[in-house]
């Protein structure tokens, strides 16, 4: 390879890092590693992103207007003092040490205030008895602070924790918690009194071998009213067999790093069918979980993408094509990711998917997908265009401008309540070893925040959105929800070998919003899979009212669980003209003229929802 050839290959990787390019740079294939923390702002040399004008296209009505939103990290003040431990802090031997953990915004005690559950990890060398890191549950004190109630709740579990997801698997009216591990997953039954019981064995979820379980989501795939459970599997990893960085050698930009996933056997995704009696049955093979183009599953998110009333599953796979399990309505799924246009990059190449989010960012009535990818690549934006078909709009939407950072958690959120979904990406490099090198991207990285320009495009507003966005941290999972019940969406971020971030959204906008908590009756009690459509005239001069939609969703982002309540920004609309709830059971409930700025608790089949004023959940 001469100098020009080297630069040629570099140009490719600098621009659109395909899987093949990654392989070329890291011989043999790349792997991951993560380390330590230097998590606080300023630990890493931060890079001042050069602002780019939005891509050409239809004029944006908000171009050049103030952002009006700041995200401030209040984790320390809030008392989120639990450091997430995960693998070696400086170097990693195995990919296992790199993937980090998820987090949940989860109202476990049903007091109307979001609590926070942080998955924790482990280290290869282990810990002395009594000093093992555990997962943490922080109860919301309703005053911006939290109390660590882990021990009391019975959630002090240790191990290589990965993802968490929430759903009321036994329909007893309180949401339960599922945590995945490299090792045995755990189903925590919520006792409804602030405590949990490990019912893994009782529920039939014990695994015979050590598996690397990854992203998870509850869903009612057969619409029988009982929540089933999808569990992604990343690598079939046997630490005794796994290669060490130097045995490859496994290199990333000349740095020895953990090997994989290419070269390691892929894990097999699992689908558990809820038997309706508190137990599950593994139906993975029969349901078509193993006949996919891609593998190395990381995160999963569920939605009815083709609007046929049946939930489909999207899986962000590392290094290979993503998977879109289309529900065949007969208990089986078929991977249609490639033909649907959500499996690959715009030029048809596999990418290294990490996290995924779902939302209707262009308000066309079809769910869209956004996925985080590896460093050197763009994140992906797939716009749903009709039943089972998507278009890759990454570049048109303006997401092609950032390729340097490595994204994990991701979420559509209406940060300014204007009725248009914005996008937040939590970044952090996978290899802690980059800290010792002068690579273009550090280990701790700031986030990307994109404002929806309402014309199909986004604008990178990271630098304008406050210190919480620009602080460099090694982020992994992140979840979205309004922890302080002030009517805007906050973000909690789990970082590796570091303290978490709690990014409080402070807005100067006085815009309206509306929020729903759904309670299934015929459908599963958590109402996972229920779709809400809100029709409202968000702008007075709008010729037609806007139709906003979302579904109650378990899992998503990276390994995380966001607020199960559905939040819609209404901008200038003080009333939602029509609210339609389509339940998984098929029931459709319609409500008219609901006042904005309230939380509505909607029971399936009820004639009217119950309205509450925030922040104190005062019944109206």
């Amino acid at each position: 390879m001469n100098r020009r050839e080297f630069l040629g290959s570099l140009s490719r990787s600098a621009l659109v890092l395909s899987f093949a390019d990654v392989l070329r740079m890291a011989t043999p294939p790349w792997a991951a590693a993560q380390t330590a923390p230097q998590s606080r702002p300023g630990a890493q040399q931060s890079y001042e992103a050069k602002p780019m004008p939005p891509p050409p296209g239809p004029a944006s009505p908000i171009a050049g207007t103030p952002l009006g939103v700041q995200f401030v990290d209040v984790a320390e003040h809030a008392g989120l003092h639990a450091k997430t431990i995960f693998g070696g802090e400086k170097t990693n031997k195995y990919l296992l040490e790199t993937t980090g953990c998820g987090v949940a915004f989860y109202d476990y005690d049903q007091d109307g205030w979001l609590d926070i559950f942080l998955v924790n990890g482990w280290r290869l060398e282990g810990f002395a008895k009594g000093s093992e890191p555990t997962c943490h549950l922080f109860r919301n004190n309703h005053d911006g602070t939290f109390t660590d109630v882990t021990e009391k709740a019975g959630l002090a579990r240790s191990g290589w924790g990965q993802a968490c997801c929430v759903g009321d698997y036994d329909n007893d009216g309180v949401d339960d918690l599922f945590v995945t591990y490299y090792g045995q997953n755990v189903l925590f039954r919520n006792n409804g009194n602030g405590t949990f019981t490990d019912v893994t064995a009782k529920a039939g979820l014990l695994q015979e071998k050590t598996r690397w379980n990854s992203g998870c989501a509850f869903l009612d795939y057969d619409r029988d009213g009982h929540l089933d459970l999808f569990v992604g599997n990343y690598i079939d990893l046997d630490l005794k067999m796994a290669p060490l960085p130097e045995s490859g050698p496994c290199l990333y930009k000349g740095i020895l790093v953990a090997c994989g996933p290419p070269g390691l056997a892929p894990g097999k995704n699992i689908l558990y069918h809820n038997n309706g009696d508190g137990t599950f049955t593994d139906v993975s093979e029969k349901a078509g979980m193993w006949t996919t183009y891609g593998n190395y599953a990381l995160s999963a998110a569920v939605a009815d993408f083709d609007n046929d009333g049946w939930p489909d599953i999207y899986v962000a796979n590392d290094s290979t094509a993503a998977t879109l399990y289309q529900n065949q309505k007969d208990g089986t799924f078929r991977d249609i990711a490639i033909e649907a246009g959500v499996g690959l990059s715009p030029d048809g190449k596999p990418q290294a998917g990490m996290g995924v989010t779902i939302g209707d960012y262009n308000r066309d009535g079809w769910f869209d997908l956004a996925k985080t990818n590896f460093a050197g690549d763009t994140d992906s934006l797939y716009a749903g265009i009709n039943a089972g078909n998507f278009e890759d709009r990454t570049y048109q939407a303006g997401l092609g401008v950032n390729t340097r950072y490595l994204g994990w958690g991701i979420g559509f959120l209406d940060m300014d309540n204007d009725g248009w979904l914005d996008l937040l990406v939590a970044n952090g490099h996978v290899y802690p070893e980059v800290n010792g090198a002068k690579t273009e991207a550090p280990y701790a990285e700031h986030k990307y925040l994109y404002r929806n320009l309402r014309n199909g495009r986004f604008e990178d507003v990271s630098a304008k959105a406050g210190p919480g966005i620009m602080a460099a941290v090694p982020a992994r999972g992140c979840a979205f929800g309004d922890f302080d019940n002030d009517g805007d969406i906050d973000v909690v971020v789990n970082c590796v070998n570091a303290l978490p971030q709690l990014l409080r959204c402070d807005t100067t906008w006085k815009r309206h919003w509306i929020r729903f908590r759904l309670v299934g009756v015929k459908s599963n009690r958590t109402a996972i899979g229920a779709r809400v459509r809100v029709t409202a005239k968000t702008q007075p001069d709008q010729p037609r009212p806007a139709v906003l939609m979302d579904e109650v969703r378990s899992g998503g982002s990276y390994y995380s669980q966001s607020d199960l309540r559905l939040h819609f920004g209404l901008d200038q609309a003080s009333v939602a003209e029509v609210v339609e709830v389509q339940w998984p059971s098929g029931q459709v409930d319609t409500f008219r003229n609901l006042k904005a700025d309230r939380l509505y608790v909607v029971h399936e089949g009820a004639k009217e929802p119950t309205a509450y004023l925030l922040p104190d959940m005062k019944k109206v």
């Binding site: 390879m1 001469n2 100098r3 020009r4 080297f6 630069l7 040629g8 570099l10 140009s11 490719r12 600098a14 621009l15 659109v16 890079y47 992103a49 050069k50 780019m52 939005p54 891509p55 050409p56 296209g57 067999m241 930009k253 000349g254 740095i255 290419p262 070269g263 390691l264 056997a265 892929p266 183009y293 891609g294 290979t320 094509a321 490639i338 033909e339 246009g341 690959l344 990059s345 715009p346 030029d347 048809g348 190449k349 763009t378 078909n389 278009e391 890759d392 709009r393 570049y395 048109q396 939407a397 303006g398 092609g400 401008v401 390729t403 340097r404 090198a437 002068k438 690579t439 273009e440």
Partner: protein, 577 residues
Amino acid sequence: MRNPLLLLVCMAAGVLCCGAQQASLEQAREAFQAGSAAYARGDLSGARRQFERAVRLAPAVEEGHSALGVVLFGLGEYRQAITELQTALKMKPADRTAEENLAEVYSQTGAPSQAAALFSRLDRESPLSGQLLAAWARDVAALGNSSEALAIMRRAAVADPQNAAIQDDLGSLYAQAGDWKNAEAAFRDALLLNRRLASAHMHLGAVLGHELQVDAAGEEFAQAAQLDPKNARVQMEWGNALVAANEDQQAIAHYQQAAAMDPDLTDAAYQLALALQRSGREREAILLFEKVVATRPQDAEALTNLGLALVQTGRAKDAVPLYLRAAALTPQNATLHQDMGVAYLQESDVDDAVKEFRAGLKIAPADPHLHYDLGLALKLKDDLPGAIAELESALRLDPQSPDAPYTLGILYMQDGRFEDAVRNLRTALELRPQNGDGWSILGSVYRQQNKYDDAAAALRKAIELLPAQPGPHITLASVLQEQGKHDEAAAERKKAGELTRVAVNRQRAVFATNAGNALLNKGEIADAIARYQEAIGSDPNYADAHRQLAVAFANQGRLTESAAEKQKAEALTENHP
């Protein structure tokens, strides 16, 4: 060196006969006669002993010193030769023979300015012989005055028209001046005078090689090698001629011969290293470059090429110190800054890379490569505006290179500026139409512009060039879907699916086989067999899995099954070499 000894001995004899110490002088005379006889038979050591004895016996006799100086020169004792000749000239400044000898000694001992000055004076006093003119010309050439050297050498050729060596030298000076026609003529003249003059064959070969007459050059080099089989330079020049004709592989063989013949011939080692580097044998080249650099630590070019070879083998970290040494020697070398920038990029040190590229551009602001490299480095920093500006400069400065427009096309695509992306990609593809990836990306951009006919055409071109890639089929399928050609779209998806499945299955088979190999190495044969069978299940055509399964079966003593698997592996290898 001329031979003045007969004259010298006669003169010395006269002086000695008139001396006061008759006996000593007589002994000195006898020593001179003996020295002269020894010199005449080629016994330089014997001549030296006798002349030294004569000088001891008659130290005041100039001719003794002069004769000893000549002999010492012949023995390679240059410093002593100069001392003796200078002593002789102090005693007898008008001794032209001694002066001519001294000039020649200077000439041969790497003191061209002293030699040239002396030759010049002597020539003014009385025209020099052809041989001395030739020596003078060589000194003048060594001082960098080619045109004057050529003029003097022409005089030498006129003065001594039958001297093949002088014609050969004349040809060399013509060649140095780039006058290949006259050079060739002079070498041919030299060979007309002496067909066995190996150096003339070698030089003629070099000229013909320069003119890319490879076969004719080869004949001359072959003759030179036959006449002077131990001359490493012949092989080196032969190699050079082959390199000029882009025949690196053949050149390498000759350079290797040259290096074997004369391990101290650094030029041969260097040229061999360069040829190996060009041939993709960088690791071998590095060893040679290291030797060259050890011999010539101030050779910035060699340092740079060693650095480049190290970068080519992924050792940018080792390359950077070498580049820094080279940069200290030649700070105004823009290419060196570019190379150093590339090394930094390989180390993922983008900031330092940017610094080097910018330093290079200060020296060579119109260098398109440097603009291109800087553009790439800036893109790595997500500085899209800066990257685009540099790449646009690269394109403007070198509109014939497809690199800049291709990269610009991708950047504009990423920025959602599809019109600009298309314009640049089309330019790149006009310049390099075999770029399958380029067609694929162009098709993707057209697809995103909803220009479906254009997209389909570009994607079909991509498929033609990249038949095993599923990507263009996938994108084409989406285009056909939009065009309402559902059946064709389905067919493309099916092809893509099949290509993907083949690739995935092969990947799975490779992984499983590797895992099996690890188990086999640990002696866990049953588990290894399971892995190999899993690999074969994924891809029955993967020969390695069958081959390894055969080994594992053999380890278990299942020889019949082993033979069957081995046979399958061989059949697959034959069918898919």
